[in-house]
Amino acid sequence: MNRVLSDWRAILVFVGPALLLYTGIVLIPILWSLGLTTYEGSPITGFHRVGAANFVRLLHDATFFKALWFGTRYAVFVSAGQVIFGLLLALMYAFYLKKTSALVRTLVFLPVVLPTVAVAQMVSKLFAIVPQYGLVNSALHALHLDSLVQAWLGQGGTAFWIIAAMDIWKAMGFYAILLYTGLVDIPEETIEAARLDGAQGWSLARFVVLPLLAPITVASLIFSLNGTLKVFDSIMALTGGGPGNATTPLTLLFYKTSFTYSEYGYGSTLALTLAVQCLIVTLLIFWRARRSGA
């Protein structure tokens, strides 16, 4: 192995094509976007240098802070939901269903492979109010709870919870599988030994299973947070960021700023803040995990 890795030609063959592709479609655009933060304009109107004006504008932009707050709130709730439900499902697979969990695992995993737009279509029909009541409103109507019949996706408050619930439901199967593989890796003897020492149920989970599962839980959290901070497709398909900008996260905001408002410079600045946010979150989790690990 060492011989292979010390051979620069081998490295070139193995890493070269991927690195070239990565540089071309990831690194260069990132640097380009970074450079654009000091410019303003669009390919049609042309670009001009504005220095730090975009960053000054950022500090006074209420829409930006609203999107940042929405995105953060969304990421916290959805990531917590995805990992907690994933964990509960994984524990269920491993300790309750044991060998017979294959069917349940498949069913819970199914939404992960469905296209987001299709899922969003289904959810929007579920919560529809016009032209017909969707399942939820019809059920409320049938139970004589007409005062609760409402435009679930037409109001910022309720739309938030529906988007969150949809994304948790869609992704929890993935985290369940991820955490389940971690659980399977815990040696049977360790669990047996803990059981002999009298640990069971909650104490078994709290003092034996969860600590052993910590590394993979941290990985899940990082996956999940980075995914949810960068949420785009589910919100685009479900509410388009509306009503108004009530469900607009940073991703949608910088997409709109660049490509609808023709403000490529400010759009890049917004994108940069998201990158920084993702970086901070990841570092925080690593730091926390390392400290508790030591």
């Binding site: 109010i129 032209p131 037409g154 009503p243 108004g244 609808t260 023709s262 403000e263």
Partner: protein, 415 residues
């Protein structure tokens, strides 16, 4: 002999190049389905032309994503199609400044088909496009409130002449359990049109021109009153439940199935009003009135919101002799064909009036002819950003989640 071979090769190459230059491909990009409205007529005429001139082929491209974004990306990479729909006049002017867009008045004069254009339509477009005719006036629309005559008669309500009468009628319908207005809050613009309409009645038909010139602010009292009125209409439930989730087609169907009494819309919807498959309440049951007067306002009901529909521009980089001949054929026949097939009013001359024009079309034509002054829609002069803000934030306005002052303040800053 290498010289001879080279010469032959060069000659061959030159010959192919010339042959290639003569064949032409016209591409039309639009967000509208190909089988409706102006896209249908243009495609039909273009295919006929292709039969006679096989070297000029035609392709229709249906765009299903955000048109403004798509055009910006295409323009940025020098890939604009031959013809394309474009929603923002401000973007069109930017493209013209870059030499991407055909000056149609000049080109039509050169081709000898300038007489095919309706002068009113030309004026509206030029006003919108910085004094140049950059968009084809493929439609000629007036906008106003369409209403269900039977519902009005059954409830003893007369066609409203003032805004207060219209609100009184709405309240009466609501009490009877009939939805007063059908509107697509998902689109947003059907709601902002009401704000614009109110302001035109308050300040007169030059309201938005004055905003553009800077002598009037969107935060001035007339606009605040307009936004407040529309907000109240929303809060009272006049637009029905879940207005923000109502998409365009649902709004049309709600009205055409008799579930709502009134519907603010442009006359381009005549094609659906005249379609018995879609129109359940019947074409003879539909009435039409202009945005009613506002107490103490300067505007009158003789001022109409007139426009030429979604603007379609032509690519200057492809404006050659072959495209000229193509345009000559298509646009000499466009007005007549639209009238005979769709009963649609356009900005082009109808050279031969068909025998049976639908009654609703004739009625609309008469209203259009009676118009003293025309004004543009609320966002006509806005930047793409302000347009987007207006049509998105109005959703928050009608649910009461945003104040009229805040709504207008953002537009004043973004315009």
């Amino acid at each position: 002999m290498p010289t001879l071979r080279t010469t032959t090769l060069t000659a061959l190459l030159v010959a192919t190049t010339f042959a290639g230059a003569q064949s032409k491909k016209v591409v039309f990009l639009s967000g509208q389905n190909e089988d409706v409205g102006y896209t249908r007529i243009i495609s039909e005429l273009a295919r006929e032309y292709q039969k006679q001139h096989p070297n000029v082929s035609y392709e229709y491209q249906n765009n299903t994503t955000d048109m403004t974004q798509k055009l910006q990306l295409l323009a940025g990479s020098n890939n604009l199609p031959t013809l394309y729909s474009i929603g923002e006049p401000s973007l069109l002017q930017q493209l013209y400044a870059k030499g991407e867009v055909v000056d149609l008045e000049q080109t039509f004069k050169r081709l000898g088909i300038a007489n095919q254009l309706n002068p009113v339509a030309v004026d509206i477009n030029k006003k919108l496009e910085g004094g140049k005719l950059l968009g084809l006036p493929l439609e000629l629309n007036i906008e106003g409130v369409w209403y269900n005559k039977k519902l009005f008669a059954d409830n003893g309500i007369k066609e409203p002449k003032t805004w207060d009468e219209m609100l009184a009628a709405a309240e009466k319908f609501k009490q009877k359990g009939i939805q007063p207005f059908s509107a697509s809050g998902d689109q947003g613009w059907p709601l902002t049109r009401l704000i614009g309409g109110y302001a035109e009645r308050y300040y007169g038909s030059d309201a938005m021109d004055r905003v553009k010139a800077g002598t009037l602010k969107l935060t001035d009292p007339g606009f605040v009153q307009a936004a407040t009125t529309v907000q109240d209409m929303g809060k009272k439930g006049y637009f029905g439940p879940g207005v923000n989730t109502v998409d365009y087609d649902t709004a049309v169907d709600t009205f055409l199935q008799g579930k709502a009494a009134m519907f603010y819309m442009g006359s381009w919807e005549l094609r659906n009003f005249n379609d018995p498959k879609r129109n359940v309440i019947g074409a003879s049951n539909i009435g039409f009135f202009n945005i009613p007067a506002v107490k103490g306002g300067k505007g009158t009901m003789n001022d109409w919101s007139i426009n030429t529909g979604l603007v379609v521009a032509v690519n200057q980089k492809q404006n050659d002799a072959a495209l000229g001949d193509w345009m000559k054929y298509v646009f000499s026949n466009y007005g007549t064909r639209s009238m005979s097939e769709l009963g649609a009013l356009t900005g082009f001359k109808v050279n031969k009036m068909p025998a049976n024009v639908p009654a609703l079309t004739t009625m609309t034509q008469r209203k259009l002819d009676s118009a003293k002054k025309g004004y543009l829609w609320f966002e006509g002069y806005f930047s793409p950003k302000a347009t987007s803000l207006s049509q998105k934030n109005v959703q928050l306005l009608v649910t009461g989640d945003m104040t009229p002052q805040d709504f207008l303040g953002q537009l004043q800053n973004g315009k």
